[in-house]
């Protein structure tokens, strides 16, 4: 493990990683950090897509008020 890999994981996790993770090789820490970053990105994309899709279900009369809440 290098301090740089640990810092990268800390940044992605936005928290201090558990102490035992220091025992892992740097490649594993980077793997975890990348996975966390990808999971957040996927969630943001899914949310955007679902929001657009859900809007089609909203009755026309309510679209204005709903849009105001969402923006």
């Amino acid at each position: 493990m290098s301090e740089e890999d640990l810092r990268y994981l800390r940044e992605q996790l936005r928290a201090e990683p558990p102490e035992a993770l220091r025992a892992l090789p740097g490649a594993h820490l980077r793997h975890l950090a990348d996975a966390i970053s990808t999971a957040r990105r996927r969630q943001a994309e899914a949310l955007q897509e679902a929001g657009d899709q859900a809007f089609h279900y909203v009755p026309r009369l309510l679209r204005g008020p709903i849009k105001r809440i969402l923006s």
Binding site: Q43, A44, A46
Partner: protein
């Protein structure tokens, strides 16, 4: 004993959060289960708190919409993962009404993604028989790890409804990966001596007898025959004196 079982359960939970197969983070099996759990809880916090503003706005917008429409949007547009993220942000009574309109299979999918700590008000209001039905679906899928996360957040009535649909092997598998071990004692009490006996027999046939008895010890619980004696004593004490 249970350390290996717990570690495997924690790796599975973390892998799911990250969209991996457990083997892809197999290197975590070199770490203590408690540390993997801490990491998993940190990732859960991060993912549930990411985009919280947008999720809260969606929950607020849902107040303007009829329950049937929210259910339809949940199933068709948001899917189980995002529905699980939003559940704890909805008004709990409305969330229960929405759940009433969704199929068991969808609720089971959402349960896999749900953080029960954030949805405990909803879980507490769910009709026990519905919890039982979704639990049966989860057991049929072998989703014991998911059930193990929920038990600590369910009222006794819902646990009872779940135990009614579980076979002894299901109960054993859930007990082994139970997250809130402090509820083990309640679980044993709700199981009762006969089902406890069946569970121990299932554990013996699965080669998990030692683990099951260690769980009983951790719960400070008695074995089936002690439990029977205790219950008979309690019944005798409750009988009106003539």
């Amino acid at each position: 004993m249970g350390e290996n079982i717990e570690l495997r359960a924690e790796i599975l939970k973390l892998a799911r959060l990250l969209g991996f197969q457990p083997e892809e983070v197999g290197y975590l099996s070199a770490l203590p289960g408690s540390e993997v759990r801490q990491l998993r809880e940190q990732v859960t916090e991060l993912l549930f708190d990411s985009h919280l503003g947008a999720l809260k706005r969606l929950a607020a917008a849902s107040r303007l919409l009829p329950v049937a429409l929210v259910a339809q949007m949940g199933e068709k547009a948001f899917g189980p993962l995002l529905s699980a993220r939003i559940t704890g942000l909805l008004d709990p009574d409305k969330a229960v009404d929405v759940a009433a309109r969704l199929p068991d299979a969808f609720l089971a999918d959402a349960a896999v993604e749900l953080d029960p700590r954030r949805a405990s008000a909803v879980l507490a209001r769910m009709p026990p028989e519905r919890i039982g039905a979704v639990s049966a679906e989860l057991a049929a899928r072998g989703e014991y790890v998911t059930m193990g996360r929920f038990v600590g957040h369910l009222p006794d009535e819902s646990i009872r409804a779940t135990l009614d649909v579980f076979g002894p092997a299901d109960t054993l598998q859930v007990a082994l990966v139970l997250e809130n071990k402090e509820r083990l004692g309640d679980l044993v009490e709700l199981l009762g001596p006969d089902r406890l006996e069946e569970m121990l027999a299932a554990a013996d046939s699965a080669g998990l007898g030692a683990e099951a008895r260690e769980l009983l010890e951790m719960a400070g619980a008695s074995g089936p025959s002690d439990l029977k004696r205790q219950r008979a004593g309690a019944r005798a004490r409750a009988r009106p004196q003539s």
